[in-house]
Amino acid sequence: MTDKLVELEIEQRGEIVVARVSGELDLAGAPGTGDLIAEAVPTSARGLVVDMSRLEFIDSSGIAMLFGLARRLASRRQELRVVAPGGRAVKRVLDIVEFSRAAPVYEGLEPALAEIA
């Protein structure tokens, strides 16, 4: 079955890169997705927002991808923000692994953008 499980859209908003991830993020898709996102962030950018409002599933591979992004951005003094609305499976997993210790998690895209600007 060749369904595309994960879909990625990248958008440049001024000095901030917004990466929208939708679908299901597991071992099959997470490493590649993480690389694609990292490559899309130029050194000149001030920060990255990973918008996961439309992501339906995430597992530890997806979490590892987020932690990896946090590490890479921190080394370049760039900020990472994650959007994951409450009450959904993705937010629950982020909470369990206490991801907010690595980067702030927001309910919506606009507050996350406002925070970097």
Binding site: M1, T2, D3, D26, A28, F57, D59, S60, I63, I96
Partner: protein, 842 residues
């Protein structure tokens, strides 16, 4: 002569008679009041008067119960009373005038003959009276007394006769009119077309039953309403108004026009309609009527016809190609019909000439990859000498062999022709193609044409196709004894070497080649995983044997895979294949095919059957039945056959069996016996797909005596039960299947989507670990168990579990622990097992 209708009913007649008696009595008594002759006997007259009044009262009282005969009796009684009165006045006075009363009554109310009888009676009575009294000039008295009422009566009778006739005709006219209206209404109401009439103001006056059906407005609702708002779309209303005004203004008495446009139903739906509109002017009144007909079906038929024409044009195009291709196929058949290479080449060279419509052809065979030798020649001088070996690079043919490329030559120099037989032909064009066997040049094929025929690039293409087949044919002939093996290998290669693993489904297949035949048959099967978790199952049988059948299997297989992967529905897939076989197959080449789409999520199977034996369904509880529905003609028989899709429930735990006729057919036996045997064997078979097929083969295929090829394909929908156990390949791509399976399984027991998501996430972590660490250690196993109010899922792999450490792997375990009540990791000699448990609170 027709019976005229009665003008009066009996009640009216009776009451009139009663009044007559009363009036007669009154008049008689009144004569006694005035001075009169003393010959009149007052007492008797008074008695007669009272009797008459009494009779009057009696008649009046019985008026409604009177019969005709009673009336006659009373009239006769009146005549007798008048006669007595005349007797008592001695017939001298004017009392005979009273006879006129009963006579006129009779003429007025009775038929002419009866009335005349009454007159005869009174004439007789008066004769008696005259005889008794014996007055002066009795004959004159009698003539006047009887003649007067007779003449008056006859006149009245005639007058009434005319009145009756008149009444009849006006009654009939009214009745006829009524009938005609009813007939018209009936005709209108039973008409298949809607009929609508409107008046000059555009208001509906007639609305028949078909109109009610067509538009959804009842006649009661429609009549009196403006038509424009009832049947026209808002866009059409203005143009309707304009048309109506124009029609009203048109000078002709009758005007009829027909048009087609969309009309609107009450529910707002729109349909194409044909309208026949008539405008009739009757005096000052203008009536517009319209017959309306729904032409959606006709439109559809027209479109289908157009489509058919388009398809036929396309088909003609395809047929032309098919004709050439079938010519090429002859080359392959030749390979199968000859034992020696020389025979084959002699046959092939003639056929190649035929396919290309060329004047001459030569086949050269290569020797040791360095020189050519003439294998066969056609169209030239049959007595030409064989020139012996021709080195690569020399002559036209040699250059083709050396370059390994097809070549086209215009007006070739005869001296450049390697085959001396062709040198005298004055060829104006020449094509040469290498015959490739594996990767080396096995020979060269050269064809030539004389004017006016000119070989061009199209011929070159065709010759290359021919060369492929000739090359194949030659190599086949060279290894004739290996032909069976090659064809079998070809067919084997067309069967899936490994069936896909499908979550929730178990698939197994068998292919048993015929033991006695030298050539393989055209049985084939396929299993195609589809988008969204479904699977396509194919079982087919191409008529014929050998390479022709095998190559058609190859084409059908790749075409079917292409159509199936585009997620076309079964009927479309089979129709496309039919088109392929119809346009490209040889004459009368046909194939049976069963294509089924299984959707485990919906527990359903839908299939199309093109002349293939019906699949067998084993439902959990020993219920075995053939899915007989929807069987249609085999592929390649009709240009546009109707393939119908049928569906059935494929419950979890049920097994679907597809097979070819070799399984159920035996010489000298009706096929029904074989089907019965199959159903019986199926009932006794084990449930799992692999052992099930072993059982069927053991039970139904005689050892070593397989008369025909047999293919079998079984699919079992794994039961969504309290427990399951499935193996997955250790690849990241398995994770999506694991999740989809778990969601489906948990969905049967749980309703809380959040809980399902959490358990799925935890199991996904366990599966991720198995995939990352089991390495090449083979598949991992996922098992689930619903145990009372608890769900338990185990993931077993054959790898070594990494000790828990900080970082990504540690996070996976943390997730499992957070999402489940109990996580248990145990290490065994075979590998690792993770057991996850969670209580299900109600």
């Amino acid at each position: 002569m027709r019976e005229l209708p009665e003008l009066f009913d009996l009640g009216v007649k009776a009451r009139s008679l009663a009044y007559l008696f009363l009036a007669g009595a009154g008049l008689g008594l009144l004569t006694l009041v005035f001075p009169h002759s003393d010959r009149i006997q007052d007492r008797e007259l008074v008695i007669l008067g009272l009797v008459a009044i009494a009779i009057s009262a009696l008649i009046y009282a019985l008026a409604e119960r009177m019969r005709n005969v009673d009336l006659h009796a009373f009239v006769a009684a009146g005549t007798v009373i008048v006669s007595l009165a005349n007797y008592f006045v001695e017939a001298t006075l004017l009392y005979p005038l009273l006879y006129t009363w009963s006579a006129l009554y009779a003429f007025y109310f009775f038929r002419l003959r009866t009335a005349l009888a009454h007159v005869a009676f009174l004439a007789l009575c008066y004769v008696i009276v005259l005889a008794l009294v014996d007055p002066m000039s009795p004959v004159v008295r009698w003539l006047l007394a009887v003649g007067t009422p007779l003449v008056a009566g006859l006149l009245i009778s005639r007058l009434l006769g005319r009145l009756r006739a008149e009444g009849l005709s006006s009654d009939e006219r009214a009745l006829e009119l009524q009938r005609s209206e009813a007939r018209t209404r009936l005709v209108l109401d039973s008409a298949p077309d809607a009929f609508v009439a409107i008046d000059a103001d555009g208001l509906v006056t007639t609305w028949n039953a078909a109109s009610e059906r067509m538009f959804g407005w009842s006649a009661a609702e429609a009549v009196g309403k403006p038509l424009r708002n009832l049947i026209f779309t808002p866009d059409e209303r203005e143009s309707f108004d304009e048309r109506r005004q124009a029609l009203l203004a048109a000078p002709e008495t009758v005007k009829v026009l027909r048009m087609e446009s969309d009309l609107q139903r009450r529910d707002g739906s729109v349909f194409p309609a044909e309208r026949t509109i008539s405008r009739v002017r009757i005096g000052d009144e203008v009536v517009m009527t319209a017959f309306l007909r729904d032409i959606a079906d006709r439109r559809r038929a027209e479109q289908e016809r157009e489509q058919l024409v388009r398809e036929q044009v396309a088909r003609t195009e395809a047929e032309r190609t098919a004709e050439m291709v079938s010519g090429l196929q002859l080359l392959v058949d030749a390979a199968l019909a000859h034992r020696t290479l020389d025979d084959l080449l002699a046959d092939l060279v003639v056929r190649v000439r035929g396919v290309l419509d060329a004047d001459a052809a030569t086949i050269f065979t290569a020797e040791n990859g360095a020189s050519l030798r003439i294998g066969a020649s056609s169209g030239g001088d049959p007595n030409a000498e064989d020139p012996g070996p021709i080195p690569f690079g020399k002559y036209f043919a040699g250059r083709v062999a050396l370059s390994e490329q097809p070549m086209l030559a215009r007006n070739p120099d005869p001296a450049d022709l390697a085959d001396p037989a062709l040198r005298g032909l004055e060829l104006n064009s020449l094509i040469g193609v290498p015959l490739k066997a594996k990767d080396e040049v096995g020979g060269v094929l050269v064809v030539g044409a004389r004017a006016p025929r000119h070989l061009g690039t199209e011929d070159l293409m065709l010759l290359r196709l021919a060369a492929d087949r000739v090359g194949l044919a030659i190599s086949h002939a060279r290894v004739y004894e290996r032909e069976h093996k090659i064809a079998e290998t070809l067919q084997r290669s067309l069967l899936p070497d490994r069936l896909p693993s499908l979550p929730g489904l178990e698939v197994a297949a068998r292919y048993l080649p015929a033991a006695t035949e030298a050539e393989v048959g055209g049985d084939w099967y396929d299993v195609i995983p589809l988008m969204g978790g479904g699977v396509g199952l194919v079982m087919g049988d191409v008529a014929g044997k050998g390479l022709a059948a095998a190559s058609m299997v190859g084409r059908l297989r790749s075409a079917l895979r292409a159509y199936a992967l585009e997620n076309h529905d079964p009927a479309t897939v089979v129709e496309q294949l039919n088109r392929l076989l119809w346009t490209e197959g040889q004459d009368s080449q046909m194939a049976t095919l069963l294509y089924a789409m299984v959707d485990p999520a919906e527990s359903a199977v839908r299939w199309v059957n093109a002349g293939h034996p019906a699949p067998l369904l084993l439902d959990g509880d020993d219920d075995v039945r053939f899915l007989e529905g929807g069987s249609s003609v085999p592929l390649g028989v009709l240009p546009f056959p109707a393939y119908r899709e049928i569906s059935a429930r494929l419950a979890p735990g049920a097994t679907l069996l597809l097979y070819t006729d070799g399984l159920v057919e035996r010489a000298g036996e009706v096929i029904d016996r074989g089907m019965e045997r199959l159903a019986a064997a199926m009932r006794e078979a084990p449930l799992n797909a692999e052992p099930l097929l072993d059982h069927l083969v053991d039970a139904l295929v005689p050892v070593g005596r397989t008369p025909d090829d047999v293919a079998l394909l079984a699919l079992r929908s794994l039961p969504v039960a309290d427990r399951f156990q499935i193996e997955f390949p250790t690849a990241p791509e398995s994770l999506a299947s694991v999740r989809s399976l778990l969601r489906r399984w948990l969905g049967h027991a749980l309703s809380d989507q959040r809980v399902i998501a959490e358990i799925t996430t935890a199991c996904g972590e366990a599966a991720t670990n198995a995939i990352e660490h089991a390495g090449a250690g083979g598949p991992f196993e996922l098992a689930g168990r619903l145990n009372g109010r608890e769900v338990e899922i185990t993931v077993r792999d054959r790898g070594v579990w990494r000790a828990e450490r900080q970082g990504d792997q540690g996070r996976g375990l943390a997730l499992m622990r957070a999402l489940m009540d109990n996580v248990d990791v145990s290490q065994t000699a075979d590998g690792t097992m993770v057991r996850l448990r969670r209580a299900l609170d109600g």
